[in-house]
């Protein structure tokens, strides 16, 4: 059986030529369905670059990326849009909600792009919002909510369409410790329900909650270990 995520010798080079930046330098890794992986590294080590490639937001300069065994690194823009829509739920550090839309409308968005009919869309979106404890905040705009609540809306948006992969880039980076704990709990619960979670962080405390920890530094993988503390 093919791996869910498989990247082989992937490099990302910014500003090729004189002062080029090798944000990723020959990275290979694979992730199976149902794993909970933390990617940890210092600022500037290439974590976000890796996440963007895994999320089909960016294409590698060199190397191959296979998702479900399908080469997605050479797809057209629209094909990549479809892959993001169907396969990946994003959780960003800055929440990335659309300010002019309500919580519910934000959650509906990926379903709209998938072409889900209005009724079904509303059902799925309300359900997702309830699961992150925001059933009573559906008609609020992002400005009317706390950071933790906004991040929960973003999580609801990521899970409403039940994508196989959840990609979280520093999901707690803008939150206080109380909200951070809540968010991590929600993410852990989603994993226990069978979703594949890839969590990017520079906080070892948060990484320790994952079952596998990949450390990167200067665009290269330094270590890739099973977190025995969580395996038990």
């Amino acid at each position: 059986m093919s791996k869910l995520v498989e990247i082989i010798n992937v490099s990302k080079i910014y500003n090729p030529g004189e002062n080029e930046v090798r944000a990723l330098d020959g990275v290979s890794l694979s992730i199976d369905k149902g794993e909970f992986v933390a990617i940890i590294g210092q600022s500037g080590s290439g974590k976000s670059t890796l996440m963007n490639i895994l999320g089909c937001l960016d294409t590698p300069t060199a190397g191959i990326y296979r998702l479900h065994g399908m080469d997605v690194s050479h797809m057209s823009d629209n094909e990549q849009s479809d892959v993001r829509n169907m396969e990946i739920g994003f959780i960003f550090q800055g929440f990335n909600l659309i300010q002019s839309l309500t919580a519910l409308e934000n959650v509906e968005l990926p379903l709209t792009y998938r072409g889900v009919a209005k009724k079904e869309r509303l059902k799925l979106s309300k359900n997702a919002l309830s699961r992150v404890g925001l059933a009573n905040r559906m008609d609020h705009k992002p400005q009317e909510m706390s950071g933790g609540q906004q991040q929960r809306v973003a999580i609801a948006r990521a899970i409403a369409q039940a994508p196989p992969i959840l990609l979280a880039d520093e999901p707690t980076g803008n939150l206080d410790s109380g909200s951070s704990r809540e968010i991590i709990e929600i993410i852990k619960r989603l994993h226990s329900e069978g979703r594949t979670v890839i969590l990017i962080t520079h906080d070892p405390g948060i990484a320790a909650q994952a079952k596998r920890i990949i450390t990167i530094s200067d665009g290269k993988i330094k270590s890739d270990v099973i977190n025995t503390a969580q395996e038990g």
Binding site: N52, G55, L57, D58, D77, N78, S81, D82, R84, N85, M86, F90, F92, N96, L97, I98, Q99, S100, L109, P110, T112, Y113, R114, R157
Partner: protein
Amino acid sequence: MEYFKSAFSSILDNKARSLLTMLGIIIGISSVITILAIGNGMKHTIGGELDELQSGGVTINIDAKKTDRYLTAEEVKQIGEQIPEAYGASPQISGYGQAKAKNDLSANITGGNETIIHSQTEKLADGRFFTESDVASASPVGVMTQSAAILLFRSMDAVGMTFDATINGITKTITVVGLIESDEESISDAWKSVSAGELWQYINVYTPHTLLTQGFSLPGENIQSFTVFPEPGKQDEVALKAKRLAENMLGLRGQKAVSIQSFASMLETFNKILNIATMVVTLIAAISLIVGGIGVMNIMTVSVTERTREIGIRKALGARTGSILIQFLFESALLTLIGGILGMIAGYGLTFIVSKFMNFPPKILLSDVALVVLISTSIGLFFGIYPAHRAAKMSPIEALRYE
């Protein structure tokens, strides 16, 4: 309709900016509407009047600058009798004033001899035309169309009815002796105007010219302009003969003091002027529409830049190039469509005011409304292409990183 909702709320979020952006479109569309409505109304009214009154008539003018001679009513009549291809010749005196019976209307009272019935082609529907003896005795009698009777008396059964005509402060009671047939459309239009109380039309009334000159003291005893009524197709021939006869009677041969003026050529001149006015206004409208379109393009480009992050988010969530493109095209088309509709309202408001002053009904055609919708959305679509394309082609990662 998701696109509609999103476009609408984004326009509403920036009301002041949207309105300013629409200004060019509003001005452009309102001037197009105004000129179309005024033009249509004017063509309809004036053109209709000229057509109706003067379809076959040819006017012969004696130039007052070249001679102080003039014809008498008797001589004019003789000219008509001496031309076998003419139904007759008549002085033609116009009096503008008010006619008052059940309703009070502006009236265009045309005075002539008994042959002036040939200035129009419709048959008499009822009663009689005024006669030679009516002319001789300056009888206060008149003939009008059935639709004019509806407007004035609210009845088509108007033979024998009287109305008060006021010209230059002199009021006379005139008896209707005959009615000229009107077509069904003008009859139903007249009834509609009566029931709506919209009485801005002129009515036309024919009376003996002697009534106008003697009864109302209008100038015209000394005739320097008269009309001959040729049989169909004999226009040029009759005009020439009438001119010769007039020159002979006046002893003015070869002095170019007598000239032919056909109403066909007057109508042509009128249409030419109207067409030039239409062209000028259309040009102004086109320029303001283009300027307005560029404004829309400008503001949409700003909007796309402001919303770069939103575009990044939408793309990250799976929006295809096409759906971002449609979203922004929809927004700019809606912007110009709203501008177009506002312009249309402003245009009709303006037309309404102008027509009140100029005494003709504004004519709103459904095709004009369709034209406005079509033009304004096309402008939005056309000038929206560039900004929408820019939005659609953004790389999701760069858009997301945009601050």
